[in-house]
């Protein structure tokens, strides 16, 4: 049978499963065929699991033989692919790094355990920037993920494989992780929906840590409805992640923004962010078109001021490397991962970390070591935390006027491979709109907002069309606001 993978969503698949017009085995086979056809080129997958079809068959058997159990499993037989930095018991997990080339997980991450309980199956693990450090997957030790819309461009990063796999219909839905935009920016480049939840709403137990005050796991899919459904399955307090929020915490946070009316959302735009320069004109035009579209749908648009947001990226590039330098110290060639022998213990450390960690990872470790070193700690690390609080205070004030804030997701469409790789600052500027949500913990979503047609043609002689995305940022724990405005925008 031929399946129209392009228009498939979780709810459509579930309906077909229930009606008996599609089995999980058939669906997984269709995705495996798609991977065989396209992934040699795109390189979204680090590994396709050899038991993918077996998992699908198990799900089909449960549906056939045990309807009672099947009815309690909302994602039974739904194929997921997972970023290579999350643990699935018994599978390899490598964060696209040489230092973890042969590492096998010995437990399930909490998000995986929750998805398994709901009946989801896992067809493979996805390519990424090494240890999630990067914005283009050019830092993967296993080659760049190419953009399915134009193979001469990057898919974005760090969750490049998570976005590209969904965009190329090689899997229905995926999980990524987001420390400074790593779910939203590749989603924007690839034309899919990506959610960065509130800090602490989704457990990071079993996620390889990068910036512990910033990291969060989130879903990528083709529609807002699917992202919402997956978020509802994977979120919740977890005793294995002390930073997860309790129901009471969530209730308390929502209470602080209780004046929001989901039927009548007020959207804030930030002129000082749009006027700072460095934004591609096609992105600005697309933002203005998106604002018009929202206005025509009856949404109120209001200008708000966020005077400190211009410092967000600078703050991020102090705090994130500081946290990276401390998180990466666990790779000591003793407990797990690779080892390059030296003449003594110190030699083991120097050789292993020097040879098996990639260039960008080492750059961030050194930068983090610098900003934390005595003499510079006050000027950088402490100062950055002060500015972080000022940014949070700006948002708190802005949310008295509006319910959600709108920006482009990234300052440009997907860029050419190699274009930014010689200048780290140019590469870091791709995160300019996304890092703020991580700094202050708020939820944010990237939603496709149209395409830009280039004058270039692809190998088939067609004009290249690149997707663009817009980002909505809501107050703490108000993912519901993101889903409401996202649905409003996509149906307007």
């Amino acid at each position: 049978m031929t399946i129209d993978l392009k228009t498939l969503t979780i709810s459509k698949v579930r309906e077909m499963f229930t009606k008996g017009t599609l089995t999980s085995t058939e669906l997984v086979q269709a995705y495996l065929d798609q991977i065989n056809l396209h992934d040699k080129e795109v390189n979204a997958f680090r590994e396709v699991y050899s038991d993918a079809l077996e998992q699908a068959k198990n799900a089909d058997d449960i549906r056939k033989n045990d309807p009672t159990q099947a009815s309690t499993m909302s994602l039974l037989g739904i194929p997921f692919a997972i970023k290579d930095n999350m643990q699935i018991n018994g599978k390899h997990a490598g964060a696209a790094s040489k230092i973890l080339e042969n590492y096998v997980s010995s437990y399930d991450a909490t998000v995986i355990a929750k998805l398994k309980k709901a009946g989801a199956i896992f067809i493979g693990r996805l390519n990424m920037d090494e240890f999630a450090m990067g914005g283009s997957t050019e830092n993967s030790a296993y080659g760049v993920v190419k953009n399915p819309n134009d193979l001469s461009r990057v898919a974005g990063g760090s969750s490049g494989g998570s976005a590209a796999s969904v965009a190329m219909d090689a899997v229905l839905v995926s999980l990524g992780s987001d420390t400074g935009g790593s779910i939203r920016q590749p989603s924007s480049y690839c034309g899919v929906v990506g959610l960065k939840p509130t800090y602490g709403r989704v457990s990071r137990h079993g996620l390889m840590a990068m910036g512990s005050s910033l990291d969060v796991i989130g879903p990528i899919a083709k529609t807002v409805e699917e992202v919402e459904e997956i978020f509802n399955v994977i979120s919740g307090q977890d005793r294995y992640d002390a930073t997860t929020l309790s129901d009471e915490d969530v209730k308390g946070a929502i209470g602080k923004s209780s004046n929001i009316n989901l039927q009548k959302l007020r959207v804030g735009i930030v002129p000082e962010l749009m006027n700072m320069g460095g934004i591609n004109p096609v992105v600005l035009k697309n933002l203005n078109d998106s604002i018009e579209k929202l206005k025509n749908a009856g949404v109120e648009i209001k200008e708000v001021s966020l005077p400190h947001i211009k410092y967000s990226l600078a703050v991020y590039y102090v705090l994130m490397p500081a946290e990276v330098s401390s998180n990466m110290s666990r790779f000591d060639s003793i407990k797990y991962g690779g080892k390059v022998e030296g003449k003594d213990l110190l030699g083991d450390y120097l050789n292993t970390r020097g040879e098996l960690l990639g260039k960008e990872v080492r750059r961030r470790i050194i930068l983090g070591t610098y900003v934390l070193s005595s003499g510079y700690h006050d000027a950088y690390y402490n100062k950055a935390n002060i500015v972080r609080d000022l940014i949070a205070a700006d948002f708190k004030k802005a949310y008295e006027e509006v319910d959600v804030i709108l920006t482009p997701t990234a300052p440009s469409p997907a860029f050419k491979m190699g274009q930014n790789s010689s200048d780290p600052v140019a590469m870091y500027l791709e995160d300019i709109f996304t890092v703020t949500a991580n700094l202050i913990g708020i939820p944010a979503i990237s939603i496709p907002s149209g395409v830009v047609e280039l004058d270039e043609v692809n190998s088939a002689g067609e004009k290249i069309k690149l997707p663009l995305g817009i980002q909505f940022m809501a107050p703490l724990c108000r993912e519901d606001v993101l889903f409401a405005i996202g649905k409003k925008f996509t149906t307007a």
């Binding site: 410092y311 407990k335 991962g337 083991d348 050194i366 002060i386 200048d423 913990g441």
Partner: protein
């Protein structure tokens, strides 16, 4: 702020990273560029009397200490032998390390 190659060597040694001469020079150049960008936070003069070192406080972020009893949790613990076997070098149930004393 300009970072010298000597400073990079010192930081790399603190962070236990072996670098080639070429890498040392590249990182000195990269870090100088990044710090030049990052230095704009020095313009901010407000809020410097606060003692915040954790961030997120002004957003009323619901932070608090999370405590539990100090007991082992058998529900989650993977089999110890699997953890030992994740080590690059092990013997039986033990992780093998280099001698560090005398």
């Amino acid at each position: 702020m300009t970072i010298t190659t000597e400073e990079i060597q010192k930081l790399a040694s603190l962070a236990r990273l072996k670098l080639t001469d070429e890498e040392t020079e590249q990182y000195a150049k990269d870090l100088s560029g990044i710090l030049k960008y990052v230095d704009q936070i020095q313009e901010v003069t407000e809020g410097v009397d606060t003692t915040s070192t954790s961030g997120k406080t002004s957003a009323d972020f619901p932070h608090r200490n999370t405590m539990r009893d100090d007991v082992s949790d058998q529900e989650i613990n993977p089999e110890p032998q699997r953890l030992v076997e994740a080590a690059p070098k092990y013997q039986g149930g033990f992780v093998e390390v280099k001698k560090i004393l005398g």
